[in-house]
């Protein structure tokens, strides 16, 4: 009978705990990261009697947490992937929408400048048309500035994001280390500290959202966390901190370090990985591409304007200030050498950055974007500069072995161009040179074309008379005797003159400054063509086509990131569902358990009642 009481009490205690656990499950049905718990019942050791072993009731072996490590790590990796794509896609979207915007994008700016130049060409003496042209030039420059500022603000947003993310990672890493210690202490009793384990899983998932991690389980219950290629973030009860330093290569960017060593290149996944990827794959290429376009356009506009005469008959000057290409020694150089980068040939420009290295005797160059080596021509001196990709680089003396120089020819260019000619009279709408066919000519010699090659050549605007001493011989300004071949260019002071037709002795052709021809629009027509002129990509790309490429690239990057994000989002949802299928609380199940345990409890109460009535029967029998 005492046994029956013992069994009853053991069962009542066990079912009370079971009911409490079920209650705990129901209470935490909506707690994120909560894993349902289950009571494991076990029989108490039986007592040996003469009649054999008699059971002595039930006991709780353990309260188990239903959790699948594999599914949890799958969820972590899905979280890492999604967080990376969310950070990446937000930036891709922002750049794509801004670059391709029909109203504020460069395309509309090119159209407006072209229209203004065409209007100037139809009415070259009109001051209003000239004002509009200068204003539209400013408008185009403003568009470059706005886009550049937008990309710069994206860069800054990445900087802030990286800072916030590393702070969060450090906080989470400390909490994980802390929990490791508490879990190890609590596990020493032999029973799992379920709710602490849940808490740590939740933190690890959050950490995975910030940066890609790998974990290993220690025997004492602690979890070690690694980032990158296995750099330890949490070992046992200790957390290490991610720190930020200026990048030795590019002081404008933060470098993420762990224990004093750079891990920026190794980190991947999570918000932090997404931000770093966006910086390298989206923002920097876009800034360089935009800068290249701005540089090529300003060089060409200035060149064209200098090839014409303004409203007052003076040779045109620069319209835009050309950006200054950046080249600087990297931190850690031991030598004193500096570099100077100048633009030489826009058609060869590539939207890239370069790292120039000196090994003590030779220089080598590689692209920052691809890491591929770039071949160098020249020796780097002022007389014989390094020439590559349309750039010229001069390195001063004093370089030491191991010194490196970062060349960023276009990074800041789009923000630096500015209109320097605001006087509408100074826009060179007229061609600089005019030709006069002698009125007494008796031959059929005529001017086919006059192409300016160098408007800065000496004697460019001087009057030059070509006089034929015989049908196939001519002199220039009365001197020399040259053979005349119709259709082959005559090279003069910065231009090429092509004559056609048969000449007669005594025929004259005069080239002179086109002064006074204010109604001339030949140069304005060329200015109007600047946006569609193929000045880039080795003569295959115009400003308009390069911009279209930029738009479609930025747009597809945004679209790709968005599609990948949707796919990853589905993967994460699946991982969450799989996790929830194992660990989540199902209220119907808990209701059933509640009924089950309640009934068992009630039944055990009946057992005690029966034992009591047996006991009472015995007492009353003895009292008689």
């Amino acid at each position: 009978m005492a046994d029956t009481f013992g069994i009853g009490i053991s069962a009542l205690q066990a079912y009370q705990r079971a009911l409490a656990t079920t209650g705990h499950n129901v209470a935490n049905a909506n707690t994120p990261g909560y894993s349902r718990q289950r009571v494991l019942f076990a029989t108490r050791p039986a007592e040996f009697t003469g009649a054999g072993y008699v059971g002595s009731g039930v006991q709780i072996a353990s309260i188990e947490r239903i959790f699948d490590e594999l599914k949890a790590s799958q969820l972590n990796s899905a979280t890492t992937g999604l967080a990376r794509l969310e950070a990446f896609a937000a930036i891709a979207q922002s750049i794509g929408d801004r670059v391709a915007d029909a109203k504020s994008g460069l395309g509309a700016g090119f159209d407006r400048l072209t229209s203004a130049a065409e209007d100037l060409a139809t009415d070259p003496t009109s001051l209003p048309a000239r004002y509009v042209f200068v204003n539209e030039l400013q408008g185009l420059v403003n568009r470059f500035h706005q886009l550049s500022a937008h990309l710069e603000s994206m860069d800054q947003a990445v900087e802030v994001g990286v800072r916030n993310s590393t702070t969060t990672i450090n906080t989470l890493a400390r909490s994980v280390a802390d929990l490791n210690e508490r879990i190890a202490a609590a596990s020493s009793s032999g029973n799992p500290p379920n709710d602490l384990l849940d808490e740590r899983s939740r933190l690890l998932n959050q950490l995975a959202g910030q940066v890609g991690i790998t974990t290993t389980q220690e025997t004492n219950g602690a979890v070690d966390v690694f980032v990158g290629n296995g750099q330890a973030l949490v070992i046992g009860f200790d957390a290490r901190e991610l720190t930020l330093a200026r990048s030795p290569l590019d002081p404008q960017q933060s470098d993420v370090q762990l224990g004093g060593a750079s891990v920026t290149a190794q980190l991947s996944g999570g918000t932090l990985g997404g931000l770093l990827d966006a910086r390298g794959e989206l923002i920097e290429p876009a800034r360089n591409e935009l800068g290249r376009l701005a540089t090529a356009l300003s060089l060409r506009l200035n060149e064209l304007n200098a090839q014409g005469l303004d409203l007052d008959g003076a040779q045109g000057g620069g319209l835009l200030s050309v950006p200054v290409a950046t080249g600087r020694p990297t931190a850690g150089n031991t030598g004193t050498a500096t570099v100077a980068v100048t633009y030489a040939d826009s058609a060869q420009f590539r939207a890239d950055e370069y790292l120039l290295s000196f090994d003590g005797s030779n220089y080598s160059l590689r692209s920052v974007a691809t890491g591929a080596p770039v071949s160098l021509a020249g020796s780097g001196t002022a007389a014989d500069p390094f020439v590559f990709d349309g750039l010229e680089v001069v390195v001063s003396a004093g370089a030491a072995a191991g010194d490196r120089f970062l060349l960023q020819p276009f990074r800041a260019a789009a923000g630096e161009i500015a209109v320097i000619e605001t006087d509408p009279r100074r826009v060179a709408a007229a061609a600089a040179l005019g030709t006069v066919v002698g009125s007494a000519n008796t031959g059929a010699v005529a001017v086919q074309s006059l192409d300016v090659t160098d408007s800065a050549a000496s004697g460019f605007l001087d009057t030059v008379t070509i006089e034929f001493s015989a049908p196939n011989t001519y002199s220039v300004n009365g001197s020399g005797s040259f053979a005349y071949t119709p259709g082959s260019p005559i090279v003069l002071n910065g231009y090429q003159l092509t004559l056609t037709g048969a000449a007669a002795a005594g025929d004259r052709i005069t080239v002179q400054a086109n002064t006074g021809a204010v109604g001339d629009n030949r140069n304005a027509l060329r200015l109007a063509g600047v946006a569609s002129e193929r000045i880039l990509e080795g003569g295959a790309g115009s400003a308009i086509s390069v911009n279209a490429t930029l738009i479609s690239r930025a747009g597809s990057a945004a679209q790709q990131a968005d599609l990948a994000m949707q796919a990853q989002s589905a993967i994460k949802t699946d991982a969450e569902a799989a996790m929830a299928a194992v660990s989540g609380v199902n209220l119907d199940e808990e209701a059933t358990n509640l009924l089950r345990y309640q009934q068992a409890y009630q039944a055990m109460a009946q057992v005690i009642g029966v034992a009591d009535s047996l006991f009472q029967s015995l007492i009353s029998a003895l009292r008689r």
Partner: protein
């Protein structure tokens, strides 16, 4: 598979959120009429739309350029028509003056009218267009085209045209230089010019002059010298004798393929010159004529001198009229080219607009039917949720 209650709700919520987002997007597409809300929706189409937009903008600009050029050419055309009428009138007056019955007084009266026509023609040649540019001064468009008076009128512009872009590769001149229209007009027949010397004292009158054998005509300069009233010598520029012969009133002298019809009798020492056509401004032509009429006197040799100038001038006036006719024909051709280009550009613009619209605009019928589908789906999903939520076992634990 177990379904966690929390997960079930969250998943339903996520589905409903997706549906709401899709509905919101569709609603925005319908209300803005564009399919591409952000370039990233369809990057290829967005880039294409920007390029097509540039092409459409260019087409609009070409049409606009064409209309400016058309306006200029139309006003040039009307100036040329006026100039042609004036020259025609001068020619009529010249014919009138050539009539043997026209008295000296009448000739002088004609000269007065010619002077007025000369002034009017000069005013036409110095016209400005609506934008204040001289129409006929070439590229020196703010420089007065012709300065001076009478015989001293000189062209101050330049012999160049301005071209306006009316199509991707089509440039049309929007003006003609006064050099071509008024200044450098060929003299004589355009091939050959023959003049009686102004110092002639006889009554020799130079009539028709024509190259009858173009192969024989070598374009050299020749002098017909009358050594006696009935005998002539033709000498070339080097004074070498080319031909000599006898002359009688009404004879034709023919040498090197050039035939000169003569009448009247020269005095000994009178001469004629013949050579390749040069150029002379229309103002000089009229001035020379007016001067001859103003100074006309009676008497056979004076009448012959005036008659010779009138004969020369009729030829020169015809050249000037021809030139104006040619330029008018060119202007007409350009106006037609502008018209064609504008039509082409307008067609382009329409097809570009259609293409842009095809890439960018939303198909309303399709969008509205998708919206209906989505709304039905959302409604069904909401109803299913409320029904399923009522199924909890806890509802029965009372």
């Amino acid at each position: 598979m177990r379904v966690a209650s929390f997960q079930f709700q969250m998943q339903w919520l996520a589905t409903v959120m997706d549906q709401r987002a899709a509905i919101d997007r569709l609603q925005l597409q319908i209300s803005t009429g564009t399919r591409i809300l952000q370039p990233s929706d369809d990057p290829a189409a967005a880039a294409r739309v920007v390029e097509l937009g540039s092409a459409r903008e260019a087409a609009r600009q070409y049409i606009e350029n064409g209309s400016v050029a058309r306006e200029r050419l139309a006003s040039e055309e009307s100036l040329l028509a006026q100039a042609g009428n004036l020259l025609q009138r001068v020619r009529e007056l010249t014919v009138q003056a050539a009539n043997a019955t026209t008295s000296v007084d009448a000739k002088q009266a004609i000269a007065v009218e010619m002077r007025q026509s000369l002034q009017s023609l000069l005013a036409i040649a110095n016209s400005k267009d609506a934008r204040g540019e001289y129409v006929f001064s070439g590229l020196r468009s703010t420089t007065q085209a012709f300065v001076g008076n009478g015989a001293s009128v000189v062209f101050a512009g330049d012999d160049a045209q301005r071209f306006v872009r009316v199509g991707p590769d089509q440039l049309i001149a929007d003006r003609d230089s006064g050099e071509q229209v008024f200044n450098a007009i060929p003299t004589g027949s355009g091939l050959v010019v023959a003049r009686a010397s102004a110092t002639n004292t006889g009554t020799l009158l130079l009539g028709a002059r024509a190259v009858v054998d173009p192969v024989a005509w070598d374009g050299g300069s020749y002098t017909v010298q009358f050594v006696a009233p009935d005998s002539y010598e033709v000498r070339d520029a080097a004074n070498a004798l080319v031909q000599a012969g006898a002359y009688a009133d009404g004879d034709q002298i023919t040498f090197r393929g050039l035939s000169l019809s003569l009448s009247g009798m020269p005095a000994a020492g009178d001469s004629l010159s013949a050579g390749p056509s040069g150029t002379q401004s229309v103002f000089q032509t009229i001035d020379r004529l007016a001067q001859a009429l103003e100074t006309a006197t009676s008497g056979p040799s004076a009448q012959a001198a005036t008659g010779n100038v009138i004969g020369d001038s009729l030829e020169d006036l015809d050249r000037a009229l021809e030139r104006i006719g040619e330029v008018r024909a060119q202007v007409g051709g350009r106006l037609q080219a502008i018209e064609q280009s504008a039509d082409l550009m307008a067609d382009n613009s329409i097809s570009l607009t259609a293409e842009i619209s095809g890439l960018r605009d939303v198909d309303l019928a399709e969008a509205l039917s998708s919206l209906t589908n989505l709304l039905t789906g959302l409604d069904a999903s909401q109803q299913a949720y409320t029904r399923l939520q009522g199924l909890s076992l806890f509802n029965y634990l009372r």
